[in-house]
């Protein structure tokens, strides 16, 4: 029983960070109707920025959020503006060419990082990296708790933005009905640019938060891109609340898989759930709660 609770708790904690990755992806999917196959790679870039800040300035990874998020926001904005948006006017045989473009972007990001930092594993050792607090026999890893807390805070901020500000409402409006949004005086093109920037910044936040827990290497992006859309499909595409639920579900599922199946099959658990949801529940887990 104790093992179960322990597994469950660490699943939830990591799920909170996964939720951030999912939120970024959901925003992009909702507004642009594409899957962003560079999502994990953007996160990876943020991790390297955080790593660099730590190595050169000894900046704590959690403070590096303040650098990594804006940096990735800018990168995202540029990518959307100069590489993704222009494709809207291109007539190509495969309608998925924006998605294929994100594949190319992901490759380039990974390789540039490999060029600069080489393929070696890196990690950030902070004073609290392996410290834990105990509560009734269950251990809580400190960096995970801090990360979970920051993730919650950022999520709350995002919700405030989306629900209470005009720009945030415009983002939602554009996702729901692009034409009508234009008629309301919303510059939909600009909203897509902003959204990709925001989505990247959220991926960046997740990256910085994960750094004290994970090893870092250039190819870490790919698996996280997969996780990102597992989360979004689980949560029902374009649903922000769903992304958080999806993140937590994936976190718990992985953690359970690692404990009760094997470490190596941990990723397959996510994939299998993902496939089942994709096929049998096209609306995501959200469809279960809808009457």
């Amino acid at each position: 029983m104790e093992v179960f609770v322990q597994t469950f708790v660490s699943g939830i904690l990591i799920g909170g960070i996964y939720g951030l990755i999912g939120l970024g992806m959901t925003l992009i999917m909702g507004v642009m109707k594409i899957i962003n196959l560079a999502h994990g790679q953007l996160m990876m870039v943020a991790m390297y920025i955080t790593f660099l800040m730590f190595e050169s300035l000894h900046l704590d990874p959690y403070f590096s959020l303040l650098v990594a998020m804006p940096a990735l926001f800018v990168i995202g904005v540029l990518l959307q503006k100069y590489l993704l948006n222009p494709l809207l006017n291109v007539d190509s045989i495969l309608p998925e060419n924006q998605v294929l473009m994100t594949v190319g972007i992901g490759m380039v990001l990974t390789e540039i990082i490999r060029f600069i930092f080489q393929s070696d594993y890196k990690s950030v050792k902070t004073s609290y990296s392996s410290s834990a607090v105990y509560l009734g026999g269950i251990s809580f890893n400190v960096p995970m708790i801090v990360a979970f807390g920051i993730a919650l805070g950022l999520t709350a901020l995002l919700f405030f933005f989306l629900l209470k500000t005009d720009v945030g409402k415009s983002v939602r409006a554009t996702a729901q009905n692009r034409d009508a949004a234009l008629l309301m005086g919303i510059n939909a093109q600009w909203i897509t640019v902003l959204t990709y920037g925001l989505g990247s910044a959220f991926a960046a936040a997740a990256g910085s938060l994960l750094l004290p827990i994970f090893y870092l290497f250039p190819d870490i992006g790919g698996p996280f891109t997969l996780k990102a859309f597992v989360i979004t499909i689980l949560g029902g595409m374009g649903s922000t609340v769903g992304a958080i639920v999806g993140g937590v579900v994936l976190g718990v599922a992985e953690s359970m898989g690692a404990t009760y199946l094997s470490m190596a099959l941990k990723d397959a658990v996510g994939m299998v759930i993902f496939l089942l949801v994709l096929i049998f529940l096209p609306g995501g887990l959200k469809a279960l709660t809808k009457v």
């Binding site: 045989i93 998925e96 294929l100 994709l278």
Partner: protein, 326 residues
């Protein structure tokens, strides 16, 4: 095939004579790999370019074919060459099953599902040690020392694959595939069962990809799940070969395959040793940049946008008004 197609004959002649003219095993190896990619790229293109179903999971079929050949040795204790007979059909059956699951989904959702299935295959092949030997992979002893038999086998496979796909695209099936790609609803109302014909397209596609996988096992003598079931080295490479050459064309993927493999080799060898060593690390970077460039400026690939490229060379636009559809 009424008129004699001189360029095609020329290409076949050059490729047939190549090992005789170029005595280097190194170059023969590069060409063998390129020919193998001709098969995979063309097979992917039948499903994606002609039928409109973008697969991110062709490694499933490649890996299945490769492991079929490998398991012939480790489990059945027969020659891996039996894999050349079994690899295609086994991959085809796998394709049928995957189609049955994934064709309920359209467009990007289909693409997503294929990534997921691909990853599941890779993980299973990694974890199920008793059956696949896991990460250690399967090692066999190659039959031939010389590259020449492999070369001609690869050339034969590439020619077979292109011919079959050429014939398919000019038959009822081909028309149905393109109709589904252009508008699935219209196709259904024309009496076309989208599900059935997508499955047929996937079956042909997975058959040839599996064949290529079986060839790879025989030629390389070693496989492991991280390579043959790889999302990046196989599935995405297949996509790159297709889109760089040009989807929905017969000659796009072959051209794409040679460009990709030659480019890869050029960089990997630091321009054959002419440039500093660090260049060799840039080959995937160059792929990525190339993809971005092609999607941005040549949405239909090198063959699909051939007329556009020609126009850049000669300003004589009027001569080239007819677009290069083949």
């Amino acid at each position: 095939m009424k008129s004699i197609n001189w360029p095609t004959i020329l290409v076949i002649a050059v490729l047939a004579l190549f090992p005789a003219v170029v005595p280097s095993d190194y170059y023969r190896h590069i060409f063998i790999i390129a020919l193998m990619w001709v098969v995979i790229g063309s097979a992917w293109n039948l499903l994606a370019g002609y039928t409109g179903q973008v697969s991110f999971g062709h490694a499933i079929f490649f890996g299945t074919g490769a492991y079929t050949a490998g398991l012939c040795v480790t489990k059945l204790e027969i020659s891996a060459w039996w894999g050349m007979l079994l690899g295609g059909p086994v991959a085809l059956v796998v394709g049928l099953l995957i189609g049955w699951i994934c064709f309920r989904l359209r467009g990007p959702y289909f693409a997503l599902a294929t990534i997921a299935v691909g990853e599941i295959f890779r993980l299973i092949a990694t974890v199920w040690r008793d059956f696949t030997e896991g990460m250690e992979g399967i090692l066999i002893i190659q039959t031939f020392r010389s590259k020449i038999p492999y070369y001609y086998l690869a050339l034969f496979l590439a020619a077979l694959c292109i011919t079959v796909i050429y014939l398919v695209t000019r038959s009822k099936w081909g028309f149905y595939f393109v109709a589904i790609r252009e508008d699935q609803d219209a196709a259904e109302s024309m009496g076309i069962s989208a599900f059935r014909y997508k499955s047929l397209s996937l079956m042909i596609s997975s058959f040839f990809t599996g064949l290529a996988g079986a060839f790879y096992m025989n030629y390389m003598g070693f496989i492991d799940p991280q390579v043959v079931f790889s999302l990046h080295y196989i599935s995405i490479m297949a996509i790159l070969v297709g889109i760089i050459g040009g989807v929905g064309t017969i000659w796009g993927p072959p051209v794409g395959a040679f460009i990709m493999v030659l480019l890869q080799e050029t960089f990997r060898s630091s321009f054959f040793g002419l440039l500093p060593k660090w260049i060799s690390e840039a080959h995937i970077l160059v792929f990525g940049l190339l993809v971005i460039f092609v999607i941005r400026y040549m949405a239909n690939g090198i063959i699909g946008d051939w007329s556009k490229i020609q126009r850049l060379w000669s300003k004589d636009r009027e001569l080239l008004s007819a677009s290069g559809r083949n």
